[in-house]
Symmetry: C2
Subunit: 364 residues, 2 copies
DNA sequence: TGTTAGCACTCCTCATCGCCGAGTGCTAAT
DNA sequence: ATTAGCACTCGGCGATGAGGAGTGCTAACA
């Protein structure tokens, strides 16, 4: 016997639901989230003590269905929460901005992430993995978009006669590198000179700016290496262009199979292939990029057909106050929103802090 | 009506199979690989013209079952090839080392890989993705183990007062980087001096060597920066240690659901969670590392329980003649070995050539 | 007027049953 | 040695029916 959550009356959409309706609705949602079974009036009155009989609850449920908060699978089945119900449910605690973060759990996750992640990509990848393990849901993680940061260091290194390694480091210590080919060998000492030039000229230029401005004008005065530099410019430019590519990691795809809603192979097949198509998925994550720290997209709110029966929760992480990337969870609309949001908050906080090194929890 | 493959008589295991038994067996294997349905004597005699009646085939099948090449799902069902049958089948063409590589397909794959891959990790990741797309199987790819290559360049860069970025470049242009923290600030000019020292001392040292030798002795003479260097040494050493970590990529996990053998959720669940557990899977791929260019592990030959009904084909790729990594395919024992081996060969050749830049198909 | 008990009705789930067909194994004929 | 014939096996599948959870409606009640 558990008692229904005591959520405040709420108004949303058309009508303000009275307190009892809210309780009934939340009881149904809570029950359905844990059992995945349609629930009937009698079961509610037995499991949650709302102080009224099943007949009364039955009437309330009938009303709630008419208002669009409940669905039936067939005429004499139990009720199931609608997307609208989940939306109401989620909105009721998303704005509470619940601070009750479990400090201990946060530090555990923080330690695990820092311990296993040497490079940035690893951090993001491990975040997805750990998030999936902890939640038992499919986790998504988007690597940071670094366009707006500034160049700290440029280095050209010869690999062999016709190949040059370009290394770019930004102010946050993110490293990107590309090997490119030249048609004509460039002696090492000249390469060093060019490297020095590039460093002088490019330091503190943003990647974005580098991308946009033609570099040509910048180097006119260095006529000594003019030819080489001219040959390098388009290559560097192209490399830089390719550098701000974003990676998407999905982990725990198999977790989907644990949900009873995916006992049917065909349902899960289309969803999985959608998740594994990184391009499409990336679109979705980038789409609502103007949005809040926590973004939730429930069922039919999703645009792509394979996601119409899913929910996606995303959280942003920040670099120096700017949102640069996201992590998220995907699963059936009947997901444990409350717990997942809490966990996502912990992850996004941790990732932000790690990449900012804001709080110097020094390695012991 | 297709005719059975005309493979030569073969002896393997206990008994030498006569020519007709071979043909019957190969017919069953071919059929089962494409249909996934147990096949009966009558169907064989109709679909493959072996010139004998179904009764004769029935007798042969009975013999083949006794020899362990065929299994029945129940007393009056059709036959299914055993692991032993697949082993025979595979061995018959693996040693032919069939050169009939489709040049056109190879170049297409090569172009796709080079077009999309700027960094090494991307190349490996894209290989897995493309391999999975092309074959419609789950693809695996192991990033190269770079322990045995030599250091080409070392660079220390300050990120902020207490953080230093360490960049290591090897002779092949592979870049690894780590951010580490110091307890005491090091001025930039000192850092540059140390960088120069490190470069002088570490160039052409193998990662392995760096890992083993204590660096301490190396820098004794540089008393000017002795303190800083001493503080750096264990950090660098630890970073290097963490640098030769291998990554494993799995792509197309959802492809498993296309196979009728995985219409049962429970079967696919354990397999998927196994594949998503990178540590275990890595073990498997690294285990047979002494082996041939193409390695095939069929059904019960696999050690781990979730793989007992799977086959894994792996191919190696090389850097300067040395095997440094692997790509592979995982799927039901009833896999299209011939086609998959061919495709894997193409991929492993391409990856080897790209990372060696042996043939300079210059960007146009 | 809101709440509740009672009851008929709906419809899903699951187990049972029997038929059909593909396939085997054996025997006897060629 | 090969083949035709035949009895037998067994999984798959659709039909059938019982059981149960749940609804909606009506009438009684505080």
């Amino acid at each position: 016997m558990r008692s229904a959550n005591n959520h405040p009356g709420e108004f949303r959409g058309d009508v303000m639901l009275d307190d009892r309706k809210m309780r009934v609705l939340y009881a149904i949602i809570d029950s359905y989230i844990t059992t995945a079974e349609p629930i009937g009036s009698r079961t509610i009155s037995k499991s949650f003590n709302l102080g009224v009989s099943s007949a009364t609850i039955r009437n309330e449920m009938s009303d709630l269905e008419e208002l669009g908060y409940l669905n039936k699978t067939h005429t004499s089945s139990g009720r199931v929460p609608s997307d609208k119900a989940y939306r109401l449910y989620v909105d009721s605690f998303i704005k509470l901005d619940n601070e009750t973060i479990n400090k201990k759990q946060k530090m555990e996750i923080r330690n695990a992430l820092e311990r296993e992640s040497k490079e940035l990509d690893q951090l993001i990848q491990n975040s997805a993995r750990l998030l999936s393990h902890i939640t038992s849901y499919t986790a998504l993680a988007l690597s940071p978009q670094i366009k707006e940061t500034r160049i700290k260091h440029v280095q050209l290194l010869p690999i062999d006669e016709y190949q040059i390694l370009l290394i770019l480091v930004n102010e946050n210590g993110l490293v990107k590198n590309t090997v490119f080919k030249t048609e004509q060998a460039i002696p090492e000492n000249q390469l060093n000179a060019i490297t020095n030039m590039l460093n002088e000229r490019l330091r503190n230029i943003s990647f974005n700016q580098l991308n946009k401005d033609s570099l040509k004008g910048m180097f006119n005065e260095f006529y000594k290496y003019k030819d080489e530099v001219e040959r390098l410019i388009p290559i560097i430019n192209k490399s830089v262009e390719s550098m701000d590519s974003i990676d998407l990691y999905a982990d725990g795809i198999g977790m989907l199979l644990n949900f009873p809603e995916y006992k049917d192979i065909d349902k899960v097949k289309s969803l999985m292939s959608f998740i594994e198509d990184k391009d499409q998925l990336m679109n979705i994550l980038l789409m609502d990029s103007i949005s809040r720290d926590i973004n939730i997209s429930i069922g039919q709110e999703n645009i792509y057909a394979p996601l119409k029966e899913c929910s996606i929760i995303t959280a942003t992480y920040k670099l120096e106050g700017e949102t640069v990337g996201k992590i998220g969870i995907i699963g059936p609309t009947r997901m444990d929103y409350l717990r997942l949001i809490k966990t996502l908050r912990i992850f996004s906080d941790n990732i932000s802090e790690i990449i900012n090194n804001s709080n110097g929890s020094v390695k012991r």
